[in-house]
Every structure is written in C-alpha cells, then in structure tokens.
C-alpha cells in the first residue's frame, strides 16, 4: 500500500510528462512537418514589411536548425509568446485567452447540467431496472448520443430560433455589449444567447453519464453491504441515498475527466454553428483562413487546460476513494 502523497506525486509527474509530450507534438506539427516553419509564423503576403519578417525570424529562431528552434520554442511557450494572428495582426495569446473565457462559460454550464441530468436518469434507471423507464431513458440518451453535435445545433436553430423565435440564432451577446460581471442586463442577454448552445452540448453527452451511472449503481446493488442494509429493513430510498449512490459516484469522477475530450469536441461544433465566439469557433475560422499562429496557440492552451482538468479529477478521486492507494 502506497501513501496518498506518493499517489498524488505520481499523478502530477504524469500530468507534466503528458504536457511535455503535447509540447513536442505541437512542435513537430507546426515547426518540423511543414518543411518551412516560416510559412507557419509569417503571413505569406507580398506587402509584408521586411523588418517584421526579420524580427519574427529572429524571435522564433526560424532560420535555426530544428533542435535549436525547439529550445527557442519552449522559451516562447513559457513566456506565452505565440506570435501574431494572421487575421487580426494582434498577439495570438490575447485572442486565445479571450476566446477561452467564452468556451469555459459554455462548457462549464453544459457540464454541470449533463452531470446532474445524466446522474439522475442513471439513478432512476438503475432503481427501476427493467421497467419501461429504464429502456426508454437508454433509447433516448443513445439517440441523442448518436447525433452529430453540429447537426443537432442546426435543428435547434431551425426550430427554436427561426420557427418559434424563442431564442436568438447566433452570437454570445447582442452586438455592442461586452461581458461585465454583476450586470443584470448583460446576464439576461448572456443566458438568452447561451441557452440553445448549452442545450445542444448537454443533451448529446447525457448518455455517457446516465449509462455509466446506471451500470455502476446496478453493480453496487449486488454488493453484500447493500443486501445487509436491506435485510436490516432499511428503506430502499435510504439505502440508495446513504450506501449505494455515494459509492456509485466514484466512477463518475473518472468519467468526467475522460469525457472532457469529447465535450470540448462538441463545444467546437456548437460554437461554430451558433457563431458563438469561443476558442472552438475561432479555431475553425482559423483553419479556413490559414491562421496558423492562432491554431498552434489554441491547440496548446486547450490541451493544457484539459490535462489540468484531468489532474484535478484524478486528485479528487484519490481523495474520495481509498482504494486508489492500493491500485
């Protein structure tokens, strides 16, 4: 049996290794693979100031061999220096961090709802195992799971924005409004714009949570301590609440971490269809306009955020579940 501290230490080391591999992968993709890294950092347009080109080559070591470039690249990453966007000509990192806020708002809201709704469905399905509700909720969640998120978003716009006109079809705030905290008008406008994208992102991922919650709970309901509780005459409700559900939640923590990769993928599609200017929307626009500096920085930042989210989930699990230490 290892100590909790050793487990935590190992998880952190793994996260750092993962981030380092991501850094290397990013470097290979954007600096080694294209043959000509200059194409990836400086817009290929005839009217570019030669002084700017020289400055960029100097700053990113673009005329150096790749192994020297790699160290220059590492240094630049740690000082958050990713060059200028081809599209807006401003530092990429400012754009990425700004877009990230919007993505976190969308992903955060949706994740909260997919966990609560998914878990509730899973608990009810496990409780009423074999009933029409069980089958129905599985069919329902798998049906939406099978839907491409971008297509579901299109259908939502079609029905609720264009036909019924209940919600705006696109954007994250009305034109001219900026995000200010503690302002009721802004908040109302934000919720109005956030509703459909959040529904689109939430509904597709409910299945992952409800299915796992159900099977985890069904698993636990065969355990001896549940039988004991029942034999003692404990009510089904109390047994679920005090014994089964808290234990069935543990796999959910792992699942949230694993699913994040999919949720972010869904967010990309939702943002794109709703013109919601988060990091996913901007990334897809960047591919259309060959804005490589943005693409590179966005990919790296997303990867780092997701790795950290995973680490937090791992640590939470290690804290909650004494068995992790034995593993």
């Amino acid at each position: 049996m290892r100590s909790l501290r050793a487990v935590l230490f190992r998880k952190m080391v793994n996260a750092i290794i993962t981030i380092f591999i991501v850094l290397a992968l990013n470097f290979v993709l954007f600096h080694v693979m294209p043959g000509n890294p200059i194409r990836m950092m400086i817009p290929q347009k005839p009217n570019i100031d030669p002084g700017y080109i020289d400055m960029m080559i100097e700053k990113f070591g673009l005329d150096q061999p790749w192994y020297i470039q790699f160290f220059v690249y590492l240094k630049n990453v740690f000082t958050l220096e990713f060059g200028d966007s081809f599209r807006t000509k401003t530092p990429v990192i400012d754009l990425v961090l700004d877009d990230l806020t919007w993505t976190l708002i969308l992903v955060g809201t949706s994740t909260f709802f997919m966990i609560t709704i998914g878990m509730t469905l899973g608990i009810l399905a496990a409780w009423k195992r074999g009933s029409w509700f069980d089958t129905g909720s599985l069919a329902f969640s798998l049906f939406f799971y099978a839907m491409p998120t971008f297509w579901f978003s299109l259908i939502l716009i079609l029905v609720f924005a264009l036909e019924l006109r209940w919600f705006p079809p696109s954007g994250e705030l009305p034109i001219g409004m900026t995000l200010t905290p503690f302002n009721l008008d802004t908040l109302a406008a934000l919720l109005d714009h956030l509703f459909l994208p959040a529904v689109s992102l939430t509904v597709g991922s409910i299945a992952a949570f409800s299915v796992v919650m159900r099977s985890s709970l069904v698993d636990i309901m065969t355990e001896d301590y549940v039988t004991t509780a029942r034999a003692k005459g404990m009510s089904e409700y109390r047994m679920l609440k005090e014994h089964a559900i808290p234990n069935a939640m543990l796999p959910m923590v792992t699942l949230i971490a694993l699913d994040l990769a999919f949720i972010v993928g869904g967010a990309f599609q939702t943002e794109y269809v709703f013109d919601y200017e988060g990091i996913g929307y901007a990334t897809i626009i960047a591919t259309e306009q060959d804005d490589y500096p943005y693409l590179q920085a966005a990919f790296l930042i997303i990867a780092v955020v997701v790795v950290f989210a995973n680490l937090i989930a791992d640590l939470t699990l290690a804290y909650l579940d004494p068995r992790v230490k034995i593993e």
């Binding site: 798998l142 839907m147 297509w151 299109l154 079609l158 060959d290």
Partner: protein, 327 residues
C-alpha cells in the same frame, strides 16, 4: 455442430487439426449469434445497418428502382440521377415529384446524393475504425506484455491521445498535414486520433491474462513471446476488441461528418458524403431559404447509421464482457 455444415466441412480438403479448429470457430460464432438474436437492441441495430449497407452497395440500382416508382405514380424522371449529375431543373429547388428532396446549388438531385453518400461515409467509418483498432490493439498488446519502462513510455503516449480533445487534434492534423484533401488523409487523421482507448482496454486485459495459468504453462514449456501473444493472449483479447471496434465505427462516422462539415473532409468536388452534403447546405444557407429537407435527411442518415453501430456494439459487449452479463 449439426447436419449440413458438418458434412460440408468434411468435404473440404483439410488436415484434421485445421478442420477441428474451423469446427470450434464455427461453434463459437453460432453460440454468439444465438445470444445476439435474443437482444432486441442488437437486432434493431443490425436491421438498420443492413438497410444502409444495401443502400450503399446498390446505390445505382436503388435510384433506378425509385425512378420506376416515380414513373408509376405519373411523374417520370429524366434518368435515375447520379450524385454529380447536373439535372438542369433549376438551382436550390424545394422537394417536388421530380426531385423528392429538391436540388442543390449545382442543380444536383439531393436524394441521389444522400443515397450515394452512404458509400463513402460507411467506407471511411469502417476503414478508419479498423485502422485505429489495429493500432490500439498492437500498442495495448505490446505495452501489457512487455511491462516495465517500455510499457510506461507507450502508456504516457496513449494518455496524451486519450486526454487531447479529439476534434481539436483532428482539425490541426487535417490542416497541417501536407497533401491536400483526400479520403485516405481523412482516414489517417481519424485513426491517428482514435486508437488510444482500445490500447488502454487491451493492455488491462493482457495484464490480467498474463498471470493466468495457461500463459504460465506455455512459458514453462518454452513457448516464445510471439507464440504466447499470438496463440494465447490475442484470442482472449479479441472479443472485447471486436465489441469496441463496432462502437469505434460509429465514432469514426461522426468524425468524418464533422470534418466534412467544417470543410476539412474529403474533397466535395470528387466525393459525396453526408457530411459534405450538410456542408453545402450550410454554405448556401439552406435554412434561411427554407430548404429544410436538405439538412434534415442527411443528418438523420448519420444518426441512424451511428445508432445502428452503437446498438450492435452494446449488444456484443453484453455478450463478451463477463462483467455486464445479465444478473
């Protein structure tokens, strides 16, 4: 095994051990299919899949058949339209007896495009899933069997691909990799992003098999590593991989449609897929022009194909995975 099949086997010019192996294999398949037929979801999935496979294999014949139906109802078509055929019946027309789903921005028949679209969508899904399964199984087998630092290295790489948001990685790969757009590039991009989960489950399975008696016995009588992996470990891992592969096909089809929708799929001028039909629809603002069927039908095709693979995968998982057997 009974009657005809048994007698047929005897007729084949095989050595006795080979015949015995075939007999055992056939017995296993019969047993599995007996279980499978009892699963309503599995059979529903199979039914839907058979429908789409027939559509894909006989796309041309299906169009001829539909043109006869239209003839019989008094609205003869000019021909059984091909997916790239310019019909000369006007741009972006709503559904009519001549074009059941209307025409697109190039005067092409949308119904025909949807039917032919099943071909590449299924092809990419199947090939990409097979490739990522192959890669995942290989990595999982090696990591589990080798153990030690080699296992550690392989698993850290697997972790990276597991946590990275799949769509972000696919977008970056599709944009940065050289060679323009092609079906094979899309297959490569999908399989490179999709192998990690398989590697994980294969490795876990191998680790538990390694400790089992029959592997130790094989080692004791001096079997080579290669022999042990091929004859003892792989056959036991295979069913799990197979169930997983079916679900991976679903994910690959979703990936293809998403890539095509954001213009990173196979070239729309040469290849028709459901994803790029939807891309065309959104480029031409089908929604604003009230051409709803242009969006709804290709999307539903994706949903049902993905659903069919998910259903089959779940049913198989229930058969092969001892943890999920009915309690």
């Amino acid at each position: 095994m009974s009657g005809i099949a048994g007698r047929l086997l005897k007729l084949l010019p095989l050595t006795e051990p080979a015949r015995e192996k075939l007999r055992l294999g056939a017995k296993r398949i019969t047993a599995t299919s007996k279980h499978f037929r009892k699963s309503p979801t599995g059979m529903a999935g199979l039914g839907i899949l058979v429908f789409f496979v027939i559509l894909a294999l006989f796309a041309g014949q299906v169009m001829v058949l539909l043109s006869w139906v239209s003839d019989a109802t008094g609205h003869p078509w000019d021909t059984a339209y091909g997916p790239f055929e310019i019909t000369g019946d006007g741009v972006m027309r709503p559904p009519s007896p001549a074009h059941w789903l209307g025409t697109d921005d190039n005067e092409r028949d949308i119904l025909s495009r949807v039917i032919y679209g099943s071909r590449v969508s299924l092809e990419i899904g199947l090939v990409a899933a097979a490739a990522s399964m192959g890669l995942g199984t290989l990595v999982g087998l090696l990591a589990g069997f080798w153990g030690g630092w080699k296992d550690e290295v392989l698993m850290r790489i697997t972790d990276v691909f597991l946590v990275l948001p799949w769509l972000a990685l696919m977008i970056v790969l599709a944009t940065v990799l050289p060679g323009g757009q092609s079906v094979s590039k899309v297959i490569f991009v999908i399989s490179i992003t999709g192998w990690s989960y398989t590697a994980r489950i294969v490795r876990a399975q191998v680790l538990s098999l390694k400790e089992r008696g029959f592997v130790e016995r094989a080692r004791a009588i001096g079997s080579s590593d290669m022999h042990i992996v091929r004859r003892h470990i792989f056959p036991n891992v295979f069913p799990l991989v197979f169930a997983n592969a079916i679900i991976t096909v679903a994910l690959s089809i979703l990936s293809e449609s998403t890539l095509s929708y954001i213009a990173l799929g196979p070239p729309p001028t040469e290849v028709v897929t459901w994803g790029n039909i939807l891309y065309g629809a959104s480029q031409r603002n089908a929604m604003g022009n009230e051409l709803y069927w242009w969006i709804i039908i290709p999307g539903l095709c994706i949903v049902f194909v993905v659903l069919s693979f998910t259903f089959i995968g779940y049913a198989l998982d229930e058969i092969f995975n001892p943890k999920l057997r009915k309690r």
